[in-house]
C-alpha cells in the first residue's frame, strides 16, 4: 500500500511537472524509444499473463504485439507494464504507458472525465457471478444477503451495487485489490460469491480453483462490458493508429487473410486486399506508418480469429465460445470499418 501511494504520488508529481501531450507526440516517442509501453493485466489467464518461460502471452498482449508489428515490422518491441485496475488510468494519463490493453470497459465517464479515448471493442463481455455448486444457487436472483468478493476500481463494483439495488436485495461486499488475494479469499470460503466479467470468471475457475467442477457461473449477465484498448485524449494520430490496427485484425479475418496465407494474398487481384496489404500504397502513408503495416501484423500475429482461438478459444483450455465476439457475418458483433 505504501508503495502504491508512492507510485501515485510520483505519478502526481509527474502530472505536476510533466509536459503537454500533443498530436503526433506518442508515435515520435514510441519510435525514439524503439518500443511501445503497453499496460496489460496483472495476470489473467488467456488475456495477459507471463507464460512458463516468463514471456507475456494472451489476448490483450497480442493486441500490443500487433501494434508493434504495424509500427516496427517486428512483434516484440513491446514493454509490458502490468497494471491493476486502480493504477491503469493514472499510468496512462501520466504517460507512463502509451496505451492500455487491459480488459478496460468503455464507459461515458471514462471517455470524458478521465480524458481517455477508446479504440474499437476487441472483446464483448458481461459481468457474472461465480458460486460454489454446494451452495445450491441456480440464479443471481437468489443471492439476497450474500457476501460477495469483488475487486475495487472497476465497473464491476458499481454494476454489483446497481444490480442488488435494482432487485431490492442486500449484499455484503469484501473489496480486495490484488487478484490473487481476492481469489484465495473466495476459494477459501470467505465469500459466497465472486463477481467479475464472465470471461475472467471462466478463466479463474479453470486456472485457479482447487477443483473447477465444484464451481459454477450463474446464467445472469448483469452488465454490458465492451472491453477495448485505451489511449489518451489529445493525440489523434496515435488514436487513429490503434483504431486501425484493431480494425485490420478483424477485417483480415473477414477477408480470409491469415498468417499462413498472407504471402499468397499479396498476389491477389482484389483491389481491396491489395490496398490493405500495401501492394497498392496509400493506407500506410495516411496513418504515418509503413505501407506493410497490415501485412506485418497479420503475418506476425495473425488475424482476429487466430488470436482468439490461440489465446481464449478452441485451442486453449479456456474453450471460450466466439458468441458475440464472432464476425458480424457469423452472427457476432465484430465489424470493421472499411480500409480504403
Amino acid at each position: 500500500m505504501i508503495k502504491k501511494l508512492w507510485v501515485l504520488t510520483l505519478v502526481g508529481a509527474m502530472t505536476a511537472l510533466g509536459g503537454a501531450a500533443r498530436a503526433g507526440v506518442t508515435l515520435d516517442k514510441v519510435k525514439a524509444a524503439g518500443q511501445i509501453s503497453c499496460g496489460v493485466p496483472t495476470g489473467v489467464a488467456g488475456f495477459g499473463a507471463p507464460d512458463s518461460q516468463g514471456r507475456w502471452a494472451g489476448f490483450d498482449v497480442d493486441i500490443c504485439r500487433a501494434l508493434s508489428a504495424a509500427i516496427f515490422g517486428v512483434a516484440d518491441k513491446v514493454k509490458y507494464v502490468p497494471l491493476t485496475a486502480q493504477q491503469r488510468f493514472t499510468a496512462l494519463q501520466s504517460g507512463e504507458v502509451d496505451l492500455l490493453s487491459n480488459n478496460t470497459t468503455d464507459t461515458l465517464q471514462r471517455d470524458t472525465e478521465l480524458g481517455l479515448n477508446f479504440a474499437p471493442v476487441v472483446f464483448y463481455d458481461g459481468q457474472g457471478f461465480l458460486v460454489p455448486k454446494k451452495l445450491g444457487v441456480k440464479s443471481a436472483k437468489e443471492l439476497n444477503g450474500a457476501t460477495i468478493c469483488v475487486q475495487p476500481g472497476t465497473t464491476t463494483e458499481l454494476n454489483l451495487a446497481d444490480y442488488f439495488r435494482a432487485n431490492k436485495m442486500e449484499f455484503k461486499p469484501v473489496v480486495i485489490e490484488k487478484r490473487d488475494e481476492v481469489l484465495s479469499a473466495f476459494f477459501s470460503g470467505r465469500c459466497d460469491v465472486y463477481t467479475n466479467d464472465s470471461s475472467a470468471l471462466n478463466a479463474d475457475r479453470l486456472s485457479q480453483a482447487p477443483n473447477p467442477d465444484d464451481y459454477v457461473i450463474l446464467p445472469e449477465r448483469i452488465s454490458k462490458e465492451p472491453l477495448a484498448p485505451v489511449v489518451r485524449h489529445g493525440d489523434d494520430q496515435w488514436d487513429d493508429i490503434v483504431r486501425w490496427v484493431v480494425y485490420a485484425l478483424i477485417e483480415a479475418e473477414e477477408k480470409g487473410i491469415t498468417s499462413k496465407n498472407v504471402d499468397e494474398k499479396l498476389k491477389s487481384d482484389e483491389p481491396y486486399i491489395k490496398r490493405m496489404l500495401g501492394v497498392t500504397p496509400g493506407m500506410g502513408k495516411a496513418l504515418g506508418l509503413d505501407e506493410k503495416w497490415a501485412y506485418n501484423e497479420i503475418k506476425l500475429v495473425g488475424n482476429y480469429g487466430e488470436i482468439f482461438d490461440r489465446t481464449l478459444g478452441k485451442d486453449t483450455e479456456l474453450k471460450f465460445e466466439r458468441g458475440l465476439n464472432n464476425l458480424w457475418t457469423h452472427g457476432g458483433l465484430m465489424y470493421a470499418m472499411p480500409i480504403r
Binding site: M1, I2, L5, L8, T9, V11, G12, A13, T15, A16, L17, G18, A20, A21, A85, Q86, F89, T90, Q93, Q109, R110, T112, E113, L114, G115, L135, L143, N144, G145, A146, T147, P152, G153, T154, E157, L158, L160, A161, D162, F164, R165, F171, K172, P173, V174, V175, I176, E177, K178, E181, V182, S184, A185, S188, G189, R190, D192, R232, H233, G234
Partner: protein, 396 residues
C-alpha cells in the same frame, strides 16, 4: 536556525545593515520560505493546467455525487445511494475505530510485555523476549496476511459454525454474537455510567488529598469500581431489567441479527496490536531501566510491595521517558492501519481508492487522504504532548 546562533554571538559594535547577522539571517529565511512557496504554487498551477489540458475533471464537486458502490462494514448507516462524502466519512470512522482500539490494546499488551521482559522469572522474561523479537522483525503486511489467512482458513463455513457460547458463533465470516435490542433505558444507563466515572474521579481526588494530609488510606479501587459499574446496574434493575437480546441466526447465506466482527477487522486489529505492542514493550522496558536502581531500593526500604513499587515509584518516573517515543508509535499505528486495503477492510484509504477510480480524480483523493492522516496525527500529537506535560516531573 541561523539566527539562533547569530543573535547569541556578542555584538561589540553595530555593523552596517547588510553585515548585521540578525537582519541577514531574517532576510535569508524570508528568501527560503519564498522559494518553497513559489515552488509549491508552481506545482499546483502546473497540475491544474495539465489536468485541464488532458480534459481531466478537477475540484471537489464529486463529493456530492452518488457513490453507487457498496461498503462491507460501516459504523453509520450507509447505502450505495449515499454520496461520496458520506462514503469517505464511513471510511474515516472505520479507520478511527480500528486505530483507536489498536492504540488501547497495543498499549496494554506492550506495557505488560515490557514489564515482563524485566521480570525476575526466567520463563516470563524469555517468553516476552521471543514475542518482541519475533513480531518486531517481521513486516506488518506479512503479519496481516498471516492473521487473515489463519482466521479465514481455520474457521468453518457459516452453516457449520462453531458455537462457543449460546449465540456466539465463529465461522469464516467472523464472530457473531447477540446484542441487546435498543431500549430507552440504555440511554439512562449510559448517563449513570458517565456520572459514575465523574464521581469516581472526584472521590479519588478527595482521597489523595486526605492521604497527603493525614496519611489515612482509602479503598479507592473498590469504591471506584462500585461507582462506575454499580450506578448503571442500579438504573438497569430499577427500570425492571429490560433485557431483550437480538440473537444471530442463519438466514440464507449468512447470519442475520446480532453483531459481527469480520475476519478482516479482526486480522487488522490483531496485526496492528501485536506489531505495535512489540515496539511499545521495548519503549516501556527502556523507560523503566532509565529510572535509577536506587529508587527501587529506596522504595523497598520504605516497605513497599513489588506491585506498589512499580505503580507508585517506577512507572510515574518512567512515563516521562516513555511518552515521547510512545507518541510516535501511536502515529505509526494509525498510519499503518492503511494496510487494511490489502486484506479488504474498508478503511479510509480503501474507500478513497475506489472513489479515485470511479471518478478518476486521483489528485483530490490523495490530497484528502494526506489531509486526514495529517489531521489525525496532529490531534494525537497534541493530546500526547498535553499528557506529557501533565506527567512531567514538577521540580520543587
Amino acid at each position: 536556525m541561523a539566527t539562533d546562533t547569530a543573535t547569541a554571538s556578542p555584538r561589540p559594535a553595530r555593523p552596517s545593515t547588510w553585515h548585521d547577522p540578525r537582519i541577514r539571517g531574517i532576510a535569508y529565511q524570508i528568501l527560503f520560505v519564498g522559494i518553497v512557496a513559489a515552488f509549491g504554487a508552481f506545482l499546483i498551477h502546473n497540475t491544474l493546467v495539465n489536468l485541464r489540458r488532458q480534459n481531466i475533471a478537477s475540484g471537489f464537486g464529486f463529493l456530492d455525487r452518488e457513490a453507487a458502490f457498496g461498503i462491507g462494514e460501516s459504523l453509520i448507516a450507509y447505502s450505495p445511494a449515499d454520496t461520496y462524502a458520506r462514503a469517505f466519512l464511513v471510511g474515516l470512522l472505520n479507520t478511527l475505530y480500528v486505530a483507536g482500539l489498536g492504540i488501547v490494546l497495543a498499549t496494554i499488551l506492550g506495557t505488560m510485555m515490557g514489564i515482563a521482559r524485566l521480570s525476575s522469572n526466567w520463563l516470563i522474561r524469555k517468553l516476552a523476549q521471543v514475542y518482541v523479537e519475533t513480531f518486531r522483525n517481521i513486516p506488518l503486511l506479512l503479519q496481516l496476511f498471516f492473521w487473515w489467512a489463519l482466521l479465514r482458513e481455520s474457521a468453518p463455513g457459516p452453516r457449520q459454525a462453531w458455537e462457543l457460547l449460546p449465540g456466539v458463533l465463529v465461522s469464516n465470516r467472523g464472530v457473531v454474537f447477540p446484542v441487546p435490542v435498543a431500549d430507552p433505558v440504555h440511554r439512562w444507563m449510559l448517563l449513570a455510567f458517565v456520572l459514575g466515572i465523574l464521581a469516581a474521579v472526584g472521590v479519588s481526588r478527595w482521597s489523595k488529598r486526605r492521604q497527603a494530609l493525614t496519611g489515612a488510606q482509602f479503598p479507592m479501587g473498590w469504591v471506584g469500581t462500585g461507582l462506575v459499574l454499580g450506578l448503571p446496574s442500579v438504573v438497569f434493575l430499577a427500570a425492571g431489567a429490560p433485557l431483550q437480546l437480538d440473537w444471530p441466526e442463519l438466514k440464507g447465506f449468512n447470519f442475520a441479527g446480532g453483531n459481527a466482527v469480520s475476519p478482516e477487522f479482526a486480522a487488522l486489529l490483531i496485526g496492528l496490536t501485536v506489531y505495535t505492542g512489540s515496539f511499545i514493550a521495548e519503549i516501556v522496558r527502556a523507560g523503566i531501566l532509565a529510572v535509577s536502581w536506587g529508587q527501587s531500593e529506596a522504595a523497598s526500604a520504605l516497605g513497599l510491595k513489588p506491585g506498589q513499587r512499580m505503580r507508585l515509584i517506577i512507572l510515574p518516573q518512567a512515563l516521562r521517558v516513555i511518552i515521547p517515543p510512545m507518541t510516535s508509535e501511536y502515529l505509526s499505528l494509525t498510519k499503518n492501519s492503511s494496510l487494511a486495503v490489502a486484506i479488504g477492510y474498508p478503511d479510509l484509504v480503501s474507500i478513497a481508492n475506489t472513489t479515485m477510480n470511479q471518478t478518476g480524480q486521483a489528485v483530490e483523493g490523495i490530497a484528502m487522504i494526506m489531509a486526514v492522516y495529517l489531521a489525525i496525527s496532529l490531534v494525537i500529537s497534541l493530546f500526547m504532548n498535553l499528557y506529557n506535560r501533565a506527567v512531567a516531573l514538577v521540580e520543587r
